[in-house]
């Protein structure tokens, strides 16, 4: 049995339709959330931007997030290399251990840090000038505790994506381990690492639970943007809270745009030319 003529209409498939419909639901859900912030925040944005306290919290968030992100990546990259190329024994167990806290509530992480730095060890550190409890340095530490496992996981994924044979070819051409890492591995996973860096920074900006437990929220001292929103809501100042949330939304949008722009594939233009 065969068709006597070619079908004149395209087959309709359910899967693409379901995916598009799901996307519409997702966009609606997230869009409503963003709209709620923007609708209430835009009207009072000027007020927030002229507030000394809000500007302080913005500077505190940007500084602590930037520092904690740099430290996170400085720790995560060598660790990711060791886990993917270092031939570590019990590699899987180590990966599980380091990333265990990814599923913990951040307030629990903060509480664990509070216990550590309130112990005799923490007291000894304080006596030697290293103080984190209720101090701005504690914000950096709290953000690191939350973000290092995330940065590590993203870094590992990035390094797994690099063809090991390409690294081996580089070795046969005379490159040592550091040279291979610097000239081959890093450039080949640059996009993923840039994304990891930007997203870690964005997460640092939004971190609150661990910070609250370890450092608290003291106005004009340990006040980050999320802390500022918390204080505003606590005192019934919802206008300022929404306006500050609007600032965070704008910062988040800038971070994601940067991730998309900086994380563009370096050969995409060449591939496009080839397709022509």
């Amino acid at each position: 049995m065969h068709r006597s003529h070619l079908a004149t209409t395209r087959r309709r498939e359910l899967f693409p339709v379901l995916c598009v419909a799901t996307s519409a639901v997702l966009v609606l859900f997230m869009g409503t959330t963003i709209l709620a912030i923007a609708a209430n925040g835009i009207a009072h944005l000027g007020l927030a931007l002229s507030s000394e306290e809000v500007m302080f919290s913005l500077r505190m968030s940007v500084m602590t997030s930037s520092l904690s992100t740099a430290l996170c990546m400085a720790l995560a990259l060598p660790c990711a290399w060791a886990m993917t190329r270092g031939g570590l024994p019990c590699r899987r167990a180590l990966e599980t251990l380091v990333e265990l806290t990814l599923s913990l509530p951040y307030i629990v992480l903060g509480f664990a840090l509070l216990v550590i730095f309130s112990s005799p060890f923490g007291v000894a550190l304080r006596d030697h000038g290293v103080s984190v409890v209720f101090q701005p340095a504690g914000i950096v530490l709290a953000q690191m505790a939350v973000n290092v496992p995330f940065a590590l996981r993203m870094s590992r994924t990035a390094l797994y994506g690099v063809d090991r044979r390409m690294e081996f070819v580089a070795r046969t051409l005379g490159a040592g381990s550091w040279d291979v890492f610097r000239t081959i591995t890093l450039p080949l996973c640059r996009n993923q690492l840039v994304s990891a860096l930007v997203l870690t920074w964005a997460r640092g900006m939004g971190e609150f639970g661990a910070t609250l437990m370890l450092v608290g929220v003291t106005r004009m001292r340990t006040e980050t943007l999320p802390g500022s929103i918390f204080l505003s809501i606590s005192t019934g100042d919802t206008d300022t809270a929404m306006a500050t949330a609007m600032i965070m939304l704008l910062v988040s949008a800038a971070a994601l745009t940067a991730a998309n722009v900086l994380g563009g594939h370096p050969v995409s233009r060449a591939e496009g030319a080839r397709e022509v």
């Binding site: 063809d163 044979r165 081996f168 070795r171 046969t172 051409l173 005379g174 490159a175 030319a273 080839r274």
Partner: protein, 238 residues
């Protein structure tokens, strides 16, 4: 000057697969083909010599030095994989200049020599091109230039011609023969193509089911009496 290879009692374990090579000698400057089916262990042998695979038992010596004492960058091996593996973030000339720069040459000097090599292989006009824009044959020539840039004592090729059309294949084979002769290096290449093995090499080693079964003069490959399974692989009457 070419490198000689001496293999004794080699066992290489890679997951569930085991490669065994009881004995193999390759003279300096010789062209040697490793012939076998897909999955027989040819590439594992090649990678063991180059240093990408660890030796489980036995020894591999390059010019009398055990490879366990040699980092891959000290083995003087030029490596060419079937899919070329050009560095996609570097231009063609920078790909070829990579090795000399790692060995201490300045950028200008390394690029100058790289350009010379590219001209020798007929792709000098592609120096500033991006690897992703090259055809298969062009990429193979560039990869060959990169492998030769460090003046290796041995050229190790992993099925370098299988993905090319017949005309390009012939051109690349000629280029390989020419540079091996001019540079005086040992040639070790992996293939599943009988005619290629005969044409390009002086001797052929046949690897089947993870074991080096026989080594024979390439001109006598189809005229020598072999064990039954080797004969079946070669398509001759056992």
């Amino acid at each position: 000057m070419g490198i000689g290879i001496e293999i004794r009692g080699l066992v290489v374990r890679r997951g569930q697969f085991v490669l065994r090579v009881p004995r193999l000698s390759i003279s300096p400057g010789e062209s040697f083909a490793v012939l076998g089916r897909t999955g027989s262990g040819k590439t594992v042998l090649m990678e063991s010599i180059a240093g990408a695979c660890e030796v489980s038992e036995g020894s591999i010596e390059l010019d009398g030095t055990n490879v366990r004492e040699l980092d891959p960058r000290d083995r003087r091996i030029g490596l060419l994989y079937q899919d070329c593996l050009l560095f996609p973030h570097l231009s063609v000339v920078d790909n070829v200049a990579y090795g000399p720069q790692r060995m201490g040459a300045g950028t200008h000097e390394a690029r100058w020599h790289a350009q010379e090599l590219l001209e020798l292989l007929g792709v000098g006009h592609l120096a500033d091109a991006h690897p992703n824009l090259l055809s298969g044959g062009e990429a193979q020539r560039v990869a060959l230039a990169r492998a030769l840039a460090t003046r290796p004592g041995m050229l190790v090729l992993d099925e370098p011609f299988s993905a090319l059309d017949p005309t390009t294949r012939g051109d690349i084979r000629d280029a390989v023969r020419r540079v091996v002769r001019d540079f005086g290096c040992t040639l070790l290449f992996v293939t599943h193509d009988f005619s290629e093995a005969q044409e390009m090499s002086e001797r052929v080693g046949i690897v089947l089911d993870g074991r080096l079964r026989t080594v024979v003069d390439s001109t006598l490959l189809l005229r020598t009496t072999h064990e039954d399974d080797v004969a079946r692989f070669l398509g001759i009457q056992p």
